[in-house]
Amino acid sequence: MDMDLKTLTYIAVFGSFALYFAIAWWARAGSTSEFYAAGGGVGPVANGIAIGADWMSAASFISMAGLISFLGYGGSVFLMGWTGGYVLLAMLLAPYLRKHGKFTVPEFIGDRYYSKAARIVAVACLIIASLTYIIGQMKGVGVAFSRFLEVDYGLGLGIGMAVVWVYAVMGGMKGITYTQIAQYVVLIFAYTVPAVFISLHLTGNPIPQLGLGSTMSDGSGVYLLDKLDMVVTDLGFKEYTTAKLGSSVNMFAYTLSLMIGTAGLPHVIMRFFTVPSVKAARASAGYALVFIALLYTVAPAVGAMARLNLMNTIEPTPGQSLVYDERPQWFKDWEVTGLLKFEDKNGDGKIQYTSNDDTNEMVKVDRDIMVLANPAIANLPNWVIALVAAGGLAAALSTAAGLLLAISSSISHDLMKGVLTPNISEKNELLSSRIIMTLAILVSGYLGLNPPGFAAGTVALAFGLAASSIFPALMMGIFSKKISGHAAVAGMCSGIGITMLYVFQHKGIMFIPGTAFLGGMQPNWFMGISPNAFGVVGAIVNFSVAFIVSKITGPAPKEIQQLVENFRIPAGSGSAHNH
């Protein structure tokens, strides 16, 4: 990396931070209503953009295209799963939760199931799911800093913690909302600009979604995807456009788990409490999906084109491998990080990249480098690379802030105000949620600094937990008037229980031995379903147990049935309010 790139990167990163601070100062929160729900005054388009930034994390920005790059068609589970969940959210949950008009997901569960136990179980699910997620974001911040600004990983993490502390603690939901809007703009720009350049270069079509379906611009008239299929199968890899992720059953379960997990993630759901009406809640789900789809429909193009560029670099013409000493600069840069590794097994000084472990000499190609190295692989100008650094940080910070708010509100509002110290004043509740948020930043920073070996595995667990506990509890609470509090508690506990059991069973208790996020298929998996895809089975268990227990314990009381009837119709909604 030359000085020039480093200076540009500093300007892009710290310029974007200055912008976030200015916004946070302008939109600082003065009341619990502003802190938890931005005063209920966020318009549907603004909320849609904020949900987009909230949702698209370091995983979406950095990892997803890389996953697709190596999984090909199998990577579709992430694309369909992480967008299809918004259809469920928009139709099954968001409008009714908004109508009920409280601040947090556990509060809704506590009200609907007239049970403090249910509320506490929901808080526990929420904290486990959110905390595991933040660790990933903190790691992303540390990695982005150390890679692009060449500072120590720990120092980079510390800077990230400080930045998020300033605007999340000061601004609460209000500050976070407006900061997320700025972060969305930065991240979508940083994601699409390199994609447009690369698509233009490879196919002559500047729109990546169309470029992916176009012919190569080299005059051969061959379609890009056909060319990619040919290149990878020549080297013994599975055909790109048909390679499955395990079995069809596994892909089905995986997609459905990600969908219902997405719909059940509390930091996304709580964004719907910030809009002024039920009508706005429905609309903002649509806008959110538009802003998410902008990245998610570009990602498959980024993945496929990056794979093709990588293959073409290593094997410029079929059978003619790259001489190691002539490797390009980006190759050397990533070798230094250890994420790209070459081993000259046959001693010919050339790079052979094949699917056969005995002859393959690219012994490590980390999938995360695909997005980050993409601009360099495609010889794009330095300012594009600087932009990618700022975009990756925006994605990680915006998601971390949303998760921190979900955690602090569930502790200060649900545990303290709701259960332990009901007489707490609004001023003290606001103070305590700021203190709790500070503690949550410190805990997640500590865990990010000492990344538990299971960090990658826990991302899947977060979805599994949300899918098997929160989503069924919310859905039943809305679509059944009769399901009882005992039933909900039993359902949530058994759904989570069986999901965790299955995950631990196949990945080790707390994931301690080397766990691969996408490990190989194993013969003893239940119906060939991988642990990451098991959330849907947990959800089915949750529904079934709740149904049986409800039959035994009898229906919810009349006033609760009245409550359900009330939040099913939009009329009479106010902004999200305190008791």
Binding site: S76, L79, T242, T255, G286, V290, R568, I569, A571
Partner: protein, 84 residues
Amino acid sequence: MSTKSTSYWQENIRLIIKCLIIWFIVSFGCGLLFVEQLNTIRLGGYKLGFWFAQQGSIYVFVALVFYYSHAMNKLDAKYGVEEE
């Protein structure tokens, strides 16, 4: 429960089921279960099943959410349960 709000809710459920059938067909149907059959058809350089899995399903999801939002606003007005 009044008959008015009962039929409002039933119409809403019918609408949701209708939308979710389409949701299922474009993703699980076209993108997964019938992907091989659809892959024999081409959409430019895309195999059609692959296109549904990585592009088409997402576009349909967006359209579905807006359609539902629009249809529900009309339903609210029809039953007079819209917000003030």
